[in-house]
Amino acid sequence: MKLLTLNFLTCARRTCKTSPSSFPLHPREAELEILESELNLVFLRNILPRLMWSELRGIGEELGLPSLPESPPSREDLVTKPSPAKPSSVTEPSSVEEEGGEGEEVPSQTAKDLHRLLLETTIKEGKLVCGNCGHEYAVKEGVANFLLPGHLV
């Protein structure tokens, strides 16, 4: 499971819905795996305002990842404008093209770090624990089990 998904998942129990501590779920005994994927600048820009940044920082800390800045990057922080003098052949290959034909937008280091954290860092094994009810959701082969026994629905 990607850390992106963990930034949106809540406890599935109905009684936890109203409790703020049912988000985020806390990874325990987590085994992480990096699964590389193509950086998508437009997607990062889209998702950025929806992230819960301080919760993301907290989860990163719990997982022992390098600490994140206190405030989230801005959309502008995600792009490096290539200088016009620079020949395009030495710039980073990128599939993301800016609309309007102003040439390619180059993802900044901030964008690359965010992509690595949200979309490539995955929880392969372990469990996710609700901070409110303590329910543990097992993660196996990257798949979290959210099936609840009938009496907890």
């Binding site: 992106l4 998904t5 599935a12 109905r14 997607f43 889209n46 798949v143 609840l148 629905v153």
Partner: protein
């Protein structure tokens, strides 16, 4: 042939051999991918989005969601999260190394995401299962209500969902769409090839919008 949802709950029906049969039949794959493309056209996403796939099965729709705009997926590639009640279907998706995240979850228990998570949601041939109550402590109405309430909350304002499903009859069609409306959705039912054995029903849902033509 009896309808699978009339015989067994999906987690029992889609055991390993059924999952494989389901995903290797090229005829079914073709129908599934046609319906996914139709649903995506109805979603009309214009840029890479976060999409929920309800009843993602072995990831047939997910593979399309992961394709780029120039490969035929409008606004793609999208990032998706899929959930399914069948562990063996998800096992097939894992083997294929699909790009989306997979959750073992029952849509009839709700949608465990915080408010405003997804840009859109898609569901292909899944939500008719919600009309089956698998235990004495649960009812189709309860399952439909938990699902649509959860889905409504998990979509961002202005978001859309398209659920293709196989209603058993008109009554079931009405039961499903009225459950969606009660959850707050603007809802429209769209039928392709009506009155034929290839009839396909799409429930088109909008959040914070009016009813759609359908």
């Amino acid at each position: 042939m009896s309808r699978p949802e009339d015989t067994l709950p999906p987690d029992l029906f889609y055991n390993d051999s059924e999952s494989r049969k389901y995903t290797t039949s090229s005829r079914i794959q073709k129908i599934q991918s046609d319906m996914t493309r139709r649903a995506l056209a109805l979603l009309s996403l214009s840029s890479p989005s976060l999409v929920l796939d309800i009843g993602c099965g072995s990831g047939l729709s997910g593979e399309i969601l992961s394709q780029a705009d120039d490969e035929g997926t409008p606004g793609g590639p999208h990032v998706w999260v899929g959930f399914d009640i069948s562990a063996s279907m998800l096992g097939v998706a894992l083997e294929k190394e699909v790009e989306g995240d997979l959750l073992l979850a029952d849509a009839g228990q709700g949608v465990p995401f915080r408010a405003g998570t997804f840009d859109a949601a898609i569901s292909i041939s899944a939500i008719q299962w919600l009309c089956n109550a698998e235990s004495s402590e649960d009812s189709p109405a309860g399952r439909l209500s938990r699902f649509f309430n959860g889905l409504y909350a998990s979509l961002r304002r202005g978001g859309r969902a398209v659920c293709q499903f196989y209603p058993k009859n008109n009554e079931q069609k009405k039961m499903v769409s009225s459950a969606a409306v009660r959850a707050g959705f603007g809802a429209g039912l769209l039928e392709d090839d009506p009155g034929t054995k290839n009839a396909k029903t799409y429930l088109v849902l909008t959040v914070g919008g009016g009813d759609l033509d359908g």
